[in-house]
Every structure is written in C-alpha cells, then in structure tokens.
Symmetry: D2
Subunit: 296 residues, 4 copies
C-alpha cells in the first residue's frame, strides 16, 4: 500500500509503552500513536533504539508492531526495527514484522561485535534477498560498526533496499547522498540536531527521537524547510536543540522519554530493565522543562 | 552436585559446533567435549563469547547446554552463558539453562548500551535473587560496560553470586581479589595471556578461549603453577602466547576457532552469520600454524 | 591593517617547506604563498597542523611566520598558529608571532593532556588578556580536548577573541553559530568535507588543508556558494571530496602534502621527523592522482 | 659513573617545584630530592609526566635537570625526560640533558600525532644513534601511540638502548620481558598499581608517581618483594593502591601532587598553566587523606 515515495517527513521512532511486567501496553501505544499523528507526523518507526527493541522478548516485539499498525490504521506507513546480533535472528524478526503488517523494515549492523565491511554487506544482502522485504539500512555508530558509504552504495543497488536511517554525522549523510544520486534511495536523518541541514542537502525526512514528546516542532521544522523558509526552520532547529540539551542532561534517554510521556498522560513510566526509573529529583526537573516548553 | 569449590582449573569456553543451517551439531559438540576432557580440563563453559551465544536463537541456546551437560556426564561442572541485552531476557535464559542441567550460570553486563554502575548492580542483583542460580559475573570490556571492583564487591555479598570470569586487565583482577578477600568468591581469569600471573595472585582458574584447540598447554600451565614450578609455567605461557598471536592475526576469532576444529576433525567450520568463513589463504595459513604446534 | 572583517573566504593552512636539515625553506615558502595567492585565496594560515608547528623549534616557527608575512606583502591577512602544551609557552609564541608580523593568531586547546572546560576557558582568557592579540580559537578534536560551545560563547565575550577555526563536526559549528549570533565572532570551517554546508549556515570561510595543493577548487566553491549557486557548489564539494579521499588513503597527511608540492615544483619533500617520506609506490600513486585532476 | 645495572628499585618521577612565575624552584626541588632519598629510593626521574615536562620552556627543563643532579650529588643515578613532538627537538633536549649531568635519558613516542610502528622505531633509532646517550624507551598509552613489543625488541638490539619505563598494562610488560630475555635490557614498571607483580616477572624496579608523596611504602614494597616476602609485599600493594584511589579522585594529578608537597612543607603548590590549582574543598580533602596515612 505504501511505497518508498512515502518515506519522507517526520517519522518518530516511537517509544514502546510497557506494563509494569514489561509487556506491551496496548492502550498506551495507541495513545502515543494518536498523539504524534495528531501533530501531523508522516510515518511511524516502531522498535528503534527509542523503542527499546533490544530489551524486548520476541513475542513483545511482534505485539508492538501489531499495535502500531492497528493504531496507524493506514493513515501513515509503519517501519519496524528488526535489528539483532545475528543474521538468522534478523531474518526471523523480518518475516515476523511483515506478518504483523509493517510496511518497511529497518536494520542496524549487528551491534554485538565489530565487523568488517564485506561482512556487513553480506549481512544486509542476505536479509534483503532472503525476505524480499522493503529494507532500510540503519547506521548508528558507535552502537554498531559504522556502515561505510561505499558499502551503502553497493547495497543501494539491490531492488528492495529502499533507503536508510542515518544517525551518522553530517559528512556521512552527505557522502551517501553523493554516492546514491540518481538511485531511488531515500535518506532519513537519524540525528535531530542537524535535521534542517540534512533536509537541505537531500534527505527526505528524519526520525527525531524527541518527536515522541514534541512532534509539533519537528513537523513545523520540516514544513518550513521544504517550503523554503530556511531562516524560520533554523530558528526552530535552535529552539528544539536547546530543549533536547535539557532532557539529555538526565541519564538514560529512554527513561526520560517514558517519564515525559507519563507526565503527559500518554503511558506509564516503565522502561525495560536494566534501564532505571528517573529519581524524584530528575522527574521534577523534567516536569519543569516540559512546562517551560508548554508540553504539559 | 558441584559447588563453588569446583570452580577451578582450566574451563574452556567451548565453541558451539553448528550445522550448515546454524543448528547445534550435537555429534560435533560431543566430540569437542571429549577432546578437551581427554586433555584434562576441569570444567566446561558453554555459550560464552567463543560459543557465539549472541547469534543463536533461544532453542539453539538450550540445545547447546543440554548437549554439553549430557556429554560431560557429571565428570566436570558445566557453566552456561545467559547474557543478553535486558534483565528479563537474562532471567528467562537463566531458568532455561538450569532446566537444561547447567551447574553454574555466567552473565555479562548488558552489552547493547552503556550503563551506570548502580544499574549494573541492580541487573545482577535481580538475576541472582529472582532465580537463586549459582551465578558468575562476567566482566568483558569493551564488549560490555566494565563492572567496577566496588560493584563486584557489593554483589559478592549475595549468597548465590559465587564468583566471576574476569576478562579485564591484571589490575582489575588484582583489585577484585583485594576487595573480596575472605569471601567465598571464585575468580577465573578470562584472558589467557596473563593466566599464570593471575593464578599466582589468587585466581582459581581460567577460561582461555584457545583451550578449545590446544587444551593440553593450559592444563599443564595450570598444573605447573599450582605445584610451584613457576619458571616452567611462564615458559608455557610464553609459548602459548606466541601461538595465540599467530591465530589472532586472522580476522574473526570464532571463525578461526571453528576452522581449526574442522581441520582437527572435530566439527564443521560453520559460524553463525554475519561472521565470515575463512578464505582459502587464511585456512592454509591456519593449517600451517596448527601443524607447527603439532595439533594436526 | 587587517581586522576581523577580513577573516573570510579560503585561508589555506599552508605547509612549511623545509630544507633537508629541517630549517624553513624560505624560497619554497614564497613559491607556495604565490601559488595559493595566484589562485585567489583570501588569507594565509601559517603554523597550523598542516604547517607541522608541533615539530618545529622556536626559531623556525618565527622564521616561518616572517617568511609568510613578507611573501603575502599585505595582499591578504596572515594568521599564525601559536599552539603548545602550556599557557606560558603559548604566550611566548603569541608575542613572537605578533613581532613577526602576524595579523591574527590561532590557538588549540593544549594538546598534551585532557582538560576540563574551566581550565580551557582560563587558558584562552589568559592568552587573550595578557597579549591583547586578535585571537582565534582552534577546535580540533581528538588531537586536543574539544572546546565546548558554551565555553566558546563565554570566550567570545572577550574583545580580542575574534573568531574560531572549527575542525569539529557540523553540529558543533552550528551550535557555536547559534550561541554567538549577534556577536562579532567569525567562524571558519576547519573540515573541508562539509565546507559548502558550513558556509550556508553562517561560516565566513574555511581553512581546507588540501587547498595547499588544489586551491582553485575551494576558491570556486566559496565563490559559487556566496553567490547562491548552491548546486554548482555542491558538485565541486563532491569532486574535491573524492580527490581528498584518494590522497587520504596514503598514510601521513603532511608527508603527502609535501610530496605533492614537490611533484608540482613548489618545494622539497622534507617533512619533520618522525613523519616519514613517501615510499616510491606511494609517490607514484600520488603522481597519478595529481595528473588525473590536472594538477601536474 | 652509573651504568644500566644501577637501573633498579624505586625511581620517583619527581615533581618539578615551581615559583609562582613558573620557574624552577631550586630550593624546593632540593628539599624534594632529599625527602625521597632519605626514604631510600634508588634513583631519580626528572621531567617525566609528573615533572610537567611538556609545559616547561627549554631553559627551565635544563635547570630542573641541573638541580636534580646537584641535589643527588652522586648518591643515586638521575634519569632525565627528553620527550617532545619531533625528533630534532628530542635530540636537542637529549644533548642538553647530558650536558646538565643526567646519567640516563628517557623518551616517549611523539605524543602529538598517531604514528606507525616503523616511524616510532626510526624516531628512537635516530635519537640513540645520533646522541649515543644511554636511552630508556618510555611507553605511555594513550598519551602517546603505544610502542609495540616487537618494536621494543628491535630497539633493544641497539647498544645504548638500555631499558624502558613501561606504563602499559601487565601483558605488555610481560611480553617485552619475554621478547628481550637474554638481552641487557632493564624494565621499569610505570604503573604503581601492579608494581609487585611486575617485579615478580622480571621488572628491575618501578617509577611510581605517588612515591613523590609516600616514597617509604614503595621502597618497603620493593624490599619485601626482592627478599621473597611476597604476601607482605601484596599487603603494601593493596594499602598503597587504596591511598592512590583517594588522591586520584581529585581532578588533575600533577596539581594534587604539588598540593600534597605544599602541605608537607616541601615546595609551593604552583603547577604550570593550564593545570589548575586545587579548590579549597579539594585541598581540605587532600589534607585529610594525608593525615589518615600519617604523611603530615
């Protein structure tokens, strides 16, 4: 139903609301999906790093995708994370994600070990070719070995490798865009701090993690950029960067996102262990930050 | 049947022989267990890093433990790796490992994310307390956040935290020994390069990965050290270190171990993807190294 | 004669041509200055990293600045590197550089040790206040501890801290620009790979090291960018980035720059030890690259 | 007068007492030399990292060596640091150090840049051969590129390369000892945390930086170790390691050493900028630590 032309705009890497026993909180996830869709986002990325994919048992992974798909209800495309340490595991996650209704799948380089580029190429090639799923590469150093632009350019020649989420630096994004020009390969910027600049050089959109909490500013930033109002876009970039600086000073990003969503009435604060709950002092600080930005 | 007093000597972190479709090769694992037990090793560590734990699907993890337990047949204790990214997952692996017959379990700090020491403490505390299993901490920087000696000393106060496998440096091992003196806490040296020195300051044994291939030299090194023949022990240390240097020059340690076991007639060379097979040139080089050390 | 408004455009961090005994080759440096000025560059940066400042004895540092100043002969401003490990040493270099005729001085954070931000602030404050020289901060991680944007913003309040050369990533440059907006603080991009994008968000110029060899492409890139021909500017960015990739594959950047200048007839190939000379194979490869880009 | 057989025992890398204007405090250095010699140390290492060599101007480097030589007055050998970024600079420092009376010189790999092993070999070879001075290699990662054991073994073949100070880890020290066995190459352990273990495997002595403050414990540790009282030696190792942990929690090691020497009445607290003075809170904490260990 959706194709690669729909990979654009703001695609929040949504948190996975959890019950106290770390099962998917279906009602919470529906509220989160509605919150970001009401703000005008253009897609959903479920089971990214913010979605705590690495901590969820297989059955919860599937439930998270199913819930997001049902909640999106065809309004926007749903991209599902399928990352794991081994190729076989990823292929199983990929098939499960497609059965659960994901429009696209996105995969990191294996994050447990340091890999050489030919092994990384072969990893993605096997996934793309054995599943046929519309695949996005997900570059996220230093969590996983960086995928070099030359490797990406070679992978972009495979029909169902439709694009990437690049959380590498600006020079990496620029180099991938240079090397894939003319191909039907969609770039999404993973880092929210340089979103406007990335859009200006050819990225089609971005997956800013803080858009779980403040989707409005990123949607407006995107709209301003593509309509040529660059100065206004950069003013929003600066404003949101300062907001993220405040939140980032609290240890454990996923815990902070969940605590914010809890304060905003969307879902409970549970994160998968070993990530910690916020302390009372941290939660008070977070509440003040959210209030200051009119998010409460 | 076995208790913490049995945590001593050479405990190979055995490879997990695999069929071409990446299922556990039961006959191969039995041959490997017999090979190292015939050489006189004092225990088995299944599903460590050399055992490719991170790449195996849950059912294969269980099968690997069951096979090792059956093959050991009560002759030596079996320690099983239960590492994963999240606390809940580890607890599930732990219960499964105990059901499969493991005498001890060993667990890394979560390897996907960078954690603060109190979160690491809580991770291990939860595993120890919710399962009651005889647990070894497994320190393996930089794969996982280092577990600081103070954290280890606090964890050593928990009854069923019986010891650790420390692949940190010599100063780390020494500091843990200083801080746990008087406790019933068993230290195993993870790094084979300083095994003799670690034994001299109080380690009870070691888990040298190359003992999959050359268990004899490590058993002899251990025997010489504990019987006070230190000069002979260091001569073996030097000799085996040079051997490991040669193998280590080939990329992908697990692939090299499997290829060596294949050349030695113990199991097939299959490693879990994305780890690569050795090239023909690398395999020829490996064969020459093994021949030079009389292992073929 | 020159003031901060002249800090703009392409300012090559020129190599320091050396005689075989590692003294400044005055005639060679004059030829290099003429070569880049003929190509239209807007300033000179002498004794940066490419200028091998760290390897030169004090008397050669002074001679390099004097030679560049004489050769420039008032046509463009001359900025001189004054970096060293200690504050006192830097102040001596600064006074010597001003006596030698430098219009501006530029200084790294001390590169021998890891410093906290308040110590870095105090280092630069002391240099600025005790010398009164027009000072540029020089951010060059990981060679030196990164200077954080907050520290830079505080330093920018000092009258004679006129700007910076930022070899940090794009997000760092953007953040400094956000935080110094409204101040008379001039940003020069240190990294040549993202020069166009840096100019687009407010950098006044750049100090691309490869402009020693190929100044023309950077001058044209700058002209296209400031005259709004962005697509043409990015085409030049891509072309020059590929050129730099080729040269960068040869170990030791300063040796490669000197060898290129030697092949181009500008100066001898001597680099200060312990940097090595290029091997014959590397020199042949370099010659082929230069020929392919019509630089011979 | 002294030869390589005198390279043994505890050789403090002495601080360089400074006047408020960062010139060598001659009287202070004499008091420091007397303090450590009275405690029984076996040599002096002037202008090491603790001696703030990198921050001192050339004339102060020479004065520091002259002062130490005069103060030692032939009682123990004096080793002088000659490290710098470039080979030519080091050779000048070396000749000056010998003129100033140093018995031995010690040199790091160049610390400004990352070097390949053959360049490091050539750096040390040039220094040894062009000066003829009795040279110690000084391995100090990550401040400088690590000198690999193979490189050290090749350098040990040069007549006047008499030994090394190794601040690498235990495995590095052990490997150098393995590879230089049979040569007249003296190993000093740079890291105080594993001094006893290093002596046990063949190091001739050590250069513990905390022996500026507490020389007695290291002298006793050395004596116990070489007289076979290993258990007592390890008890002192543990006790001194805990002491160092306390001091190490205060930022800036050299500032802490100077502040301690000031509290002990030996010299002023001045460190070369940009290193900071201790805050009042830090100084109070330090005073308490010193009192607890009966050093005040």
């Amino acid at each position: 139903m959706f194709d690669r032309d729909d990979l654009k705009g703001i695609i929040p890497p949504i948190a996975t609301p959890l019950t106290p026993s770390e099962e998917v909180d279906v009602a919470g996830m529906r509220r989160l999906v509605d919150y970001v869709l009401d703000a005008g986002v253009h897609g959903l990325f479920v089971l990214g790093a913010t979605g705590e994919f690495a901590y969820l048992r297989d059955r919860e992974r599937v439930r998270a995708i199913e819930t997001a798909v049902e909640a999106a209800n065809g309004r926007v495309p749903v991209m599902a994370g399928i990352s794991d340490a081994g190729t076989k595991q990823v292929i199983e996650h990929c098939l499960a994600a497609r059965r659960a209704g994901a429009d696209f799948v996105a995969c990191m380089a294996p994050y447990y070990s340091t890999l050489r580029q030919p092994w990384i190429y072969e990893h993605f090639r096997a996934i793309a070719c054995e599943t046929g799923a519309p695949l996005l590469l997900y570059n996220v150093p230093p969590v996983a070995t960086p995928i070099e632009p030359e490797t990406i350019a070679r992978l972009a020649e495979i029909e169902n490798v439709v694009g990437m989420k690049d959380s590498g630096d600006f020079i990496h994004i620029q180099d991938v865009l240079f090397r894939t020009r003319g191909r039907d390969f969609r770039m999404l910027s993973g880092l929210e701090y340089h979103l406007v600049a990335a859009l200006q050089i050819g990225a089609r959109g971005g997956t800013p993690s803080p858009s779980n909490i403040w989707p409005q500013v990123y949607v407006e930033m995107y709209d301003k950029t593509i309509s040529g109002k660059v100065e206004e876009a950069f003013a929003l970039q600066e404003r949101s960067n300062r907001f993220v600086d405040l939140l980032d000073a609290i240890p454990s990003w996923t815990s902070t996102v969940k605590a914010a969503l809890h304060l905003m009435g969307i879902c409970g604060p549970t994160v998968a262990a070993p990530a910690p709950s916020l302390s009372i002092e941290e939660a008070d600080l977070l509440r003040a930050h959210l209030a200051r930005y009119h998010l409460l």
